[in-house]
């Protein structure tokens, strides 16, 4: 069923009795051309582009829990392409362009809201770094604008400009950045993939791989074996556990990242604002809640929950940046498990096992990458060669001395 304004009107006049489920609950087939392991944002996006763009429709997405139960439903919904390195920026700008056409492509309201992202700076060195980053963005076809203190004040008068320790000296502004409704992104991709023939199987845990003479021929699941032409793993957060069943060790550690939402407030924050003196990013949802997050808890965890010190740290950053928010009450907080890679950048690659493909290591950056990650993974699966914007995301890049370290933090996953 195609969604449209006319359909809403028609259904509204006929008691809303004609709406159908957004996707089927299909039976599992014995064989698929491609089995995607993981029904999160990236897995569902892969299924969508594989079926719609690359014409491979005999595809299953296997999800251990329910759709969108992982990080696609746990992030702070920020969409941006303000990276520095030439291996990253074209990929994230490709993603940004896919975001801009996403709702039309999916025929689904993902509440894409391009209200911009403002990265604040507090000293000359930070400003210099933003000049460089902004130029790198412009060279990759993205948009960027350096703002001085007065321009930031016009945009966000509520920020504490005269913080003695961290005065605001300006900021880097990407007008096309923004936020999207994260659950709707998962649902929209699922619905579109389903409409193009993909079987979405929930409550089906992959427990191992069928590896025959060194070639991957399918998966073992909690609901029986499934044979596959290609197996595409896409389980960020659990990558090490899943790939260990294929005997692989990954350049990844799992860490918990917390996120928060306040009670609903009247419109306060125009777009996304990030604090340059601590790790804080904040935006306001269409419903009015302030959505914000900070740093990792910094120790390995699979628990999907964090500890109090990070909450305190985030609250301190908020008070330093926007003192008025001291009156806002915290509504909810939660944690998600991140694939923290050794250089802070992701992987979209074949493995050394023919027939087995890997997508993971997204660190904090998975949500904004969802469309391009799905597109590039589908490209790799369909053509067996990497998409031009994702050529650098190889598993062997550390051996080749080609780490993609945006932050320059070295092989220390909890610092990326």
């Amino acid at each position: 069923m195609r969604y449209s304004a006319l359909r809403i009107l028609q259904q509204g006049l006929t008691g809303n009795k004609g709406w159908k489920a957004a996707w089927r609950q299909p039976n599992i087939q014995k064989h698929y051309d491609v089995v995607i392991v993981g029904g999160g944002g990236h897995g569902l996006a892969t299924a969508h582009y594989l079926s719609k763009v690359f014409g491979i429709r005999n595809v299953a997405v296997l999800e251990k829990g329910w759709l969108g139960s992982g990080n696609i439903g746990r992030n702070t919904t920020i969409v941006r392409s303000n990276y520095l390195l030439p291996e990253n920026e074209p990929f994230y700008e490709f993603s940004m362009k896919l975001w801009e056409g996403l709702e039309q492509d999916l025929n689904y309201n993902a509440m894409m809201s391009q209200r911009g992202i403002l990265n604040l700076c507090h000293n000359d060195a930070q400003r210099d770094a933003y000049v460089r980053r902004g130029n790198a963005m412009l060279m990759a076809g993205a948009d960027a604008k350096l703002l001085d203190r007065d321009a930031v004040r016009d945009m966000c008068p509520f920020i504490n400009f005269d913080n003695e320790r961290f005065p605001i000296t300006g900021g880097l502004w990407q007008p096309r950045a923004g936020t999207a409704r994260h659950d709707a992104v998962a649902w929209g991709y699922a619905r579109s993939a389903d409409r193009h023939g993909v079987d979405i199987i929930q409550n089906c845990e992959v427990t191992g791989f069928q590896i025959d003479n060194g070639v991957c021929k399918g998966v073992e699941t909690s609901r029986g074996p499934i044979s596959a032409g290609k197996v595409a793993v896409c389980v960020a957060g659990s990558s090490s556990r899943v790939m260990a069943t294929a005997g692989m060790r990954l350049p990844i550690e799992s860490h918990v990242l917390q996120a928060f939402v306040s009670e609903g407030l009247k419109p306060t924050i125009p777009g996304v604002v990030t604090f340059g003196a601590g790790h804080l990013y904040i935006s306001q949802s269409d419903k009015g809640g302030l959505v914000f997050g900070g740093d990792l808890d910094k120790y390995n965890s699979y628990a999907q929950r964090g500890n109090l010190p990070v909450i305190e740290h985030v609250a301190e950053d908020m008070m330093a940046m926007i003192p008025a928010l001291g009156r806002a009450r915290l509504l909810r907080m939660w944690g998600g498990v991140m694939d923290m890679s050794m250089d802070g950048s992701p992987f979209i690659d074949k493995t050394h096992i023919p027939g087995l493909y890997f997508n993971g290591g997204w660190c904090y950056g998975g949500f904004k990458a969802t469309p391009a990650s799905g597109y590039c993974y589908a490209h790799l699966l369909a053509k067996d060669e990497p998409h031009p914007t994702a050529k650098a995301y190889r598993l062997d890049r550390f051996m080749r001395g080609r780490a993609i370290d945006e932050k320059g933090a070295g092989a220390q996953p909890n610092l990326h």
Binding site: S238, S240, R241, A244, R249, L250, P251, I252, E253, S254, K298, Y299, N300, S301, Y302, A303, N307, P309, M342, F398, M399, A411, Q412, P413, N414
Partner: protein, 95 residues
């Protein structure tokens, strides 16, 4: 989280810096024929287990000692804390 320091008693985990897998104590032999591969695996690859995990913590805001903490990554429960020096000595790594 509270880390029960072998010398100082229970301390808030906020006083510590988390480095990573205690396997980092086992630095490869730089003169081995396959030292390049060994150092790649040592520096970049991780077991990253869901469950019991031995990891290095540094008491930066305290006595600057290195500890090996055995902790469950699914529950955050800490079952053992020892000085990294003792841990390394047991493996023949330290004088």
């Amino acid at each position: 989280m509270i880390i029960n320091h072998p010398l100082l008693g229970p301390r808030d985990a906020e006083e510590f810096v988390h480095l990573g897998d205690a396997a980092l104590v086992d630095r490869p032999d730089w003169q081995a024929g396959d030292a390049l591969e060994q150092f790649h695996d040592y520096l970049y690859l991780r077991d990253n287990p869901a469950g019991e995990y031995r990891e290095l913590w540094y008491h930066e805001q305290g006595d600057r000692s290195w500890l090996v903490v055995t902790r469950n990554t699914l529950t955050h429960e800490i079952s053992k804390v020892e000085l990294a020096r003792d841990f390394a000595r047991k493996q023949g790594r330290s004088a």
